[in-house]
């Protein structure tokens, strides 16, 4: 017995290479992408069902249904339920049909089942007489999303004719929506990086909004109070002031967390209120421009971030600075030993301490950097877009960035992508409101759905039957308290 056992050799270790880059990217992106898709589908239903014309037509059709229509309607519901049930357990059905039931087979079976179900339901609904309702709903949804795309990316026909005409003003107008999306994305990149960096250190920085305000205050102050500097000095100085102001606002909760264990969520929220009221007071008092409105003076021209195109295109240098900062943060987190420490403290503080890392120092450093990035978002807005600071100027960039960092999985490049998306949605939403009469709140609903699906990846995995949990899933923050 033992001898036969001895003859068996344990298989040697085989050196498996890391999965190829495209595969890792796909694995990282598939959940957010599917979450986004699902959110837009659900958003579409909400748009359709909140459209009065659709609802009227629906009520009208139902009131004219005959018994046969009701019977068919019940059949439709059964088809729908049947389709869902079949697509839940493809392996079982395939095996009944004497297929091997492999992953690939069941995947195709599933796709076909879903498509057939949708087709059958639509055909039945049309037969019953819901055709006009479906058409109305379809036009409501496409109208809304069309306006969203046009408002954020521009009208392709307009772009083509403008390019053909060669008229610089026409070209500028054609590209205006895209440029506005990029302008809106810029503060999102900074603030998203701020929150993502906190997450990597196991910190939940809810204070990005407040840090952003303080950054805007300090940079606007440097922007208008210092005169006579060349732009090459004034711009870095103003940006630096913004970063410093934000860093100070991040330092306080970081220090409290590191020294006395006060939870950063509470303290960053409180610091937000201090920042809001402080800026209100400053804009009504010491920093107020002469006149009735509580607004700061305009910054010097030498502190303005240069714009690349004539008005009305506001696209400015800040976008490229943001991209550069994102690359720097990526390098800092994943290539430098400081980043290694911050990530280790975030992933397992006990092991970090065991490995001789200074946890308090790393928490303070991470909060300061996070605050500095959020401060840069504020500085970017005043130096690149507004040229002055008004009350409540930010309208929630800092809060949206929490969602955005989650969507970007706390990776700098993911954050950039998510920021582009959020900026696009934000600038396109305005147009959607004007053209399609869809309240801009639907954008917020879609954003909220995206976050819900990201935060509960189990839903997406269940819907799309993604079996394997993504490798190396990031644990964002630890529980309350310790």
């Amino acid at each position: 017995m033992a001898e036969s056992v001895l003859k068996e050799i344990i298989p040697p270790v085989t050196e498996v290479q890391r999965a190829p880059l495209w595969r890792r990217i796909w694995e990282a992106v598939q959940l957010p992408a599917l979450a986004l898709f699902t959110a837009f589908v659900v958003g579409g239903f909400i748009i359709a069902l909140s459209d009065f014309k659709v609802l009227e037509a629906l009520a009208d059709t139902i009131s004219r249904l005959n018994p046969l229509g009701y019977a068919l309607l019940i059949l439709t519901v059964m088809v729908l339920i049947g389709g869902v049930l079949i697509s839940r357990r493809p392996e079982v059905i395939l095996r009944r049909l004497r297929f091997a039931g492999t992953g690939r087979q069941s995947r195709w079976f599933n796709i076909i089942a879903v498509l057939l179900t949708i087709a059958a339901v639509i055909i039945l609904l049309v037969v019953i007489g819901f055709g006009p309702v479906l058409a109305l709903a379809w036009s409501a949804v496409t109208g809304a999303y069309g306006a969203l795309i046009e408002g954020s990316l521009g009208n392709s026909a307009q772009i083509v004719t403008a390019l053909q005409s060669g008229d610089s003003r026409a070209i500028a107008l054609a590209f205006y929506p895209i440029s506005e999306s990029l302008v809106a994305s810029t503060p999102y990149i900074f603030a998203g990086l701020a929150v993502a960096l906190g997450f990597r250190c196991g910190l939940f920085n809810i204070g990005a909004e407040g840090q952003l305000f303080i950054g805007a205050l300090t940079s606007v102050f440097v922007g208008y109070s210092i005169t006579g500097l060349p732009a090459i000095l004034h711009i870095p100085l103003a940006l630096g002031a913004g970063a410093l102001g934000g860093a100070l606002w991040g330092f306080v909760p970081g220090f409290l967390k590191a020294r006395v264990g006060a939870h950063e969520v509470i303290n960053t929220i409180m610091m937000n209120y201090i920042a809001f009221r402080l800026s209100e007071w400053l804009l009504n008092g010491p920093m107020k421009r002469p006149g009735a409105v509580p607004v700061s003076p305009f910054i010097e021209a030498s502190a303005q971030l240069p714009r690349f195109f004539p008005d009305p295109i506001r696209f400015h240098l800040g976008f490229f600075i943001a991209l550069g900062v994102a690359v720097f943060i990526w390098w800092f987190l994943f290539k430098s030993k400081w980043g290694f420490e911050i990530r280790t403290v975030g992933a397992n503080p006990s092991a970090a301490r065991y490995a001789g890392m200074n946890i308090a120092l790393n928490i303070i450093l991470a909060m300061c950097m996070s605050g500095a990035l959020a401060g840069l978002a504020g500085a970017n807005e005043v130096l690149g877009v507004n040229y002055n600071l008004a009350n409540a100027f930010s309208s929630g960039y800092g809060f949206d960035s929490i969602a955005l960092a989650l969507l970007g999985r706390s990776h700098p490049f993911g954050v950039v992508l998510a920021a582009l998306l959020f900026g696009t949605l934000r600038s396109g939403g305005t147009r959607m409101q004007n053209v399609a009469q869809i309240p801009i709140d639907i954008i917020i609903v879609v954003q909220a759905l995206v976050i819900a699906f990201i935060a509960a990846p189990g839903i997406i995995r269940a819907i799309y039957r993604i079996v394997k949990p993504g490798e190396g899933e990031v644990v964002f923050t630890r529980g309350w308290g310790r």
């Binding site: 017995m1 056992v5 001895l6 068996e8 280790t344 006990s350 970090a352 001789g356 644990v475």
Partner: protein
Amino acid sequence: MAPVLELRNITKRFPGVLANDHISFTLEAHEIHALLGENGAGKSTLMNILYGLYQPDEGEIIVRGQPVQIHSPNDAIKAGIGMVHQHFMLVPVLTVTENVMLGDEMLTGGIFLDRRSAAQRIRDISKRYGLEVDPDAYVKDLPVGVQQRVEIIKLLFRNADILILDEPTAVLTPQEVNDLFKVIRSLVDQGKSLIFITHKLKEVLATADRITVLRAGRVVGSTTPAETSEASLAAMMVGREVSLEVDKAEPQLGEVVLSVEHLEVLDERLNVAVDDVTFDVRAGEILGIAGVQGNGQTELVEAITGLRKPISGHIRILGHDVTHATPRRITELGVAHVPEDRQRDGLVLNYPVADNIALQEYYKPPFARGVVIDERAIQREAAALVQRFDVRTPSVHTPAGSLSGGNQQKVIVARELSRPIKLLVASQPTRGLDVGSIEYIHKQIVRKRDEGAAVLLVSPELDEILALSDRIAVMYRGRVVAIVDAEVATKEYLGLLMAGADPTSVPVPERRHKRVEVVT
């Protein structure tokens, strides 16, 4: 009579792994059937299939002659199958009764919890099977051994008659292990059938009626305690002869490396955990610290490695006073630390193996140049160490958390022992590991000692202490009650001291015969 439970050709594949390969297994009525295997042999997968947590890719489960489909733990309980997990599933702030009722609440009037009759049933069960427990006690106040009884009562409360115990002795003291074995016996005597998962050979031989050994997802063989021995079971598990004795030469003593003087350390609740402890460890020797867990060993080790500040006394390493030094400074003096809780302190589980290898030295060459981390250098070094220390991992990019416990420990051992160290502090270096890994890690520790390092070994396992140590210190209630030469120490003598006997009243045993050296 038909077996109560039969598994036929159970196969389960995970991406890249064949966890269970056509496993067939029967459990007779009134039987204790031990399922033995190294970590990663497929024991847990098999039991999770039986408990409805995984679905098998192939094969059938037959309970009392009827084929059953088990899709969830609820199905398992309906089929009379219950499982006690290695990590208990209890709510600490609830009472025993409330914990037992969870998920199977007895109600009066349809809405009110009927705690009284539930408590009565628990008393009946505990009387019948000798499972002493107070139904009104809060779980958080109970010792681990009693918590385990609560888990067993939970299953009996739900009328399970096929009980699965997953590594039930891993968390118990020797006394509690004996109690558990009595309980197991009485359960079987009263008609229950039991599957006992473990990798501890002695326990299997002492309790099981039948033994099935798994290796690499397959059944290697079935046997009974009468027909087999520790050595042949170990060989079946590992696939080669395993030497259970540690082979070591006379110590070559050098200078004093670690010197601890009148050390006093507090625990979290500010109780004195280490009380006036004094000892030296010299280069080339292994000082073993024996003691039941929770007698100050943890705090002592943390103080020596800089993770906990002593309130008085001195710690010197190679003449440097490190009483208040940081962990980093102590590491840089040439100290390696294999921590007691590998998952909490020793590893970052979602980091790849490579980054875990670099955890102690990530900040200096060759792993870092300036502030830039050299990933290639780290991966090269990690690949070399994985090879040298026989870490079974798909690659150095695999997250450490997805390795088995033994391989996680090997990652730590590889990192700590590959450095040129002067002092090794090893705290329970083989806790929860299988024989193959234990043998390997023991050899590595002895090799470090022979290379001239001082070794401080802390372990509640007397076998381990006796096998490795040159001198043995016994800790009881924070004090070192005796330091004896390993050659005069017997298990009985140490056991008495560990239990708190007065060292002056315990006769020191005769010098033992020199250990027979096993040639491998």
